[in-house]
Amino acid sequence: MPFSAQPPASGERCALSASLDNARHLSSLLRAVHFQDYATCLATASGLRVTVEDAKCIQANAFIQAEIFQEFSVQEESVMFRISLSVLLDCLTIFGSSSLPGASTALRMCYRGYGYPLMLFLEEGGVVTVCKINTQEPEELLDFDFCSTKVVNKIILQSEGLREAFAELDMTSEVLQITMSPDKPYFRLSTFGNAGSAHLDYPRDSDLMEAFHCNQTQTNRYKISLLKPSTKALALSCKVSIRTDAQGFLSLQYMIRNEDGQICFVEYYCCPDEDITEAEL
């Protein structure tokens, strides 16, 4: 049910203020990118983007567009801050994380600006919790410079076909090797672990394949420990688009439908791994 909280004291305007009837619409997406403690939040008129990075090689972004919120207003052109994602998630799920139909946590979010903490007002069943989370100076984010014109190979798969594969990836392998090609094996995921090598092949005419645009045979290797967290996003999504550019940079975009049927996106970008020596086939 809609929640109307106390407005900030003395009528001061918030740089960012938003309200959401069901906090899960936010928390589930944030979980899909939660592989590091800290995240950078960027709020613009179009919505909220939460970015997590690791090792200067991988970046994940969760997009919650303004339309998802019941109220969303940003006073300046953009508002950016760094915050503990672990703490933010703990607060958003303070009433428990089980998803019972009918019971949902309502959220009101308020950020007064640079140097101020992020205020959260959470309500469920008449119980209100107020959280104040300290914010930090935002750090510079990686720019993968990935745009559609530079894409060499692209496929769109139904997530159902990849979920199990990702969950069962041989983690004794250092790399996940991705092969995309206009010829056989079309799309192949390979690992090289203690047991031996394993290859997962998806043919271009598979029912799972929604789109197949591969122009060039490319084989790239990525550190498996960096990509493994994307399994969470995959689990939530219904479709995933896999793209590579000429340098082998990987873009994974997950289309996620929330409980109300609204669409949100999570994307992962990853650099190819140059250090790994020639893997056996």
Binding site: E168, A195, S197, H199, Y202
Partner: protein, 385 residues
């Protein structure tokens, strides 16, 4: 070797692998003319299991060709690696249509390929090691007692025991009743021990042919693996047993599958005065043909026996070496040993009184030592002793 398993049989194969994974760390694969055999043995050599899939189990079965001097190829694979392919049984059932197992003559990898829904193919290339035949020596014909029961009955009985329980005693009682009781070590403090005992009526079994007053104690953990396989396949389980100290053999039979689980049993020290021949090592009098010279296996057997008498072999002992239906009771030899494979003194077997299973154990006390009577049929290619 090339074989294809289709449809529901893929899950059966997966279950067999899960069952074998409860026994040992390595999976032995042996293609024969009568089918593909999967085997495992535990590190203390007190448990051995084999699943023999007949050619009819497969959609396609090509064991490969044996040359005039070579036998059909055998290999062993790390159990964890093989199990990884069949890890999730529900997903095997849901999405795998076919499984291909391929071993090309000079290939360095065993190929397991799963053909799944939506045209997806999962190919696993597993490292393997060549090995000699793994075969425990046992003969169900020589067992005095036999019980046959639906797996469900035993599964329901076993559920009463805690999952951590190591050993259980199966016994026959008055009125033809069969008992199951958790085994309590002598050293255990009786005031702090809980004893669970259950009795099953004769009519719950499909057949009962037991020597009265007999009982055996065996390791429950290894049995549970077979039990869950039996339950899932809805096959009746037959238990062949004899005196304490002699192995208990569990069998499952089907038109396309033969399963054996052989477990060592605890030897009864009380019975030692009555039948010296059964005390300690199970004797396999030196046969005139095959001769196994694995001194280590013998040493392990001797060391784990307590108070083994050095008397002459009992006249009640048959001098005929038991021959399991299809294979010769050859000694297991391995090339490229890893330390733990050495039969040697396998650390301390989990229960000192469990005998090392007979892999063609040579010696009978009282006979001249191995040095003089040894007749090696097949030399190790490496010339190891």
């Amino acid at each position: 070797m090339k074989c294809v398993i289709a449809g529901g049989n893929v899950k059966v194969l997966g279950r067999a692998v899960h069952s074998l994974s409860r026994i040992g760390d390595e999976l032995y694969l042996e293609p024969t003319e009568s089918g593909l055999s999967f085997r495992a043995v535990n590190s203390s050599r007190s448990a051995f299991a084999s699943f023999l899939f007949a050619p009819l189990f497969f959609q396609l079965y090509e064991p490969g060709s044996a040359g005039p001097d070579t036998e059909l190829f055998r290999c062993k694979v790390h159990m964890k690696s093989f199990l990884g392919v069949f890890r999730s049984l529900p997903s095997l059932e849901k999405s795998v249509g076919k499984c291909l197992i391929l071993l090309k003559p000079r290939a360095s990898r065993l190929v397991l390929q799963l053909h799944c829904k939506y045209g997806v193919t999962k190919t696993h290339n597993l490292a393997f090691q060549e090995c000699e035949r793994l075969q425990a020596v046992f003969d169900t014909q020589r067992c005095a007692s036999r019980l046959c029961a639906p797996a469900r009955l035993l599964a329901e009985a076993v559920v009463h025991f805690p999952p951590t329980l190591a050993e259980v005693t199966l016994g026959t009682g008055p009125g033809g009743k069969i008992s199951l009781r958790n085994y309590v070590e002598d050293e255990a403090e009786l005031s702090k021990t809980m004893v669970t005992e259950l009795w099953l009526a004769e009519d719950e079994f499909q057949s009962v042919a037991v020597a009265p007053g007999s009982h055996i104690t065996f390791c429950l953990k290894e049995f549970r693996g077979l039990l869950s396989f039996a339950e899932a396949s809805n096959l009746p389980l037959t238990i062949h047993f004899d005196e304490p100290g002699r192995p208990v053999i569990f069998t499952l039979d089907d038109t396309v599958l033969e399963v054996h689980l052989v477990l060592a049993t605890l030897s009864d020290t009380e019975s030692s005065s009555q039948s010296p021949s059964t005390n300690g090592v199970s004797h396999l009098p030196a046969p005139s043909d095959d001769f196994a010279d694995d001194l280590e296996s013998y040493m392990a057997a001797m060391e784990t026996s307590e108070g083994c008498s050095e008397g002459p072999p009992s006249p009640t002992f048959s001098l005929h070496i038991p021959r399991p239906a299809k294979s010769k009771p050859e000694e297991e030899e391995e090339e490229e040993e890893e330390e733990e494979e050495e039969g040697a003194v396998p650390g301390t077997p989990p229960h000192k009184r469990f005998r090392s299973l007979f892999f063609g154990s040579v010696m009978t006390p009282g006979r001249p030592g191995p040095a003089t009577t040894q007749e090696v049929l097949a030399e190790d290619s490496d010339g190891e002793s």
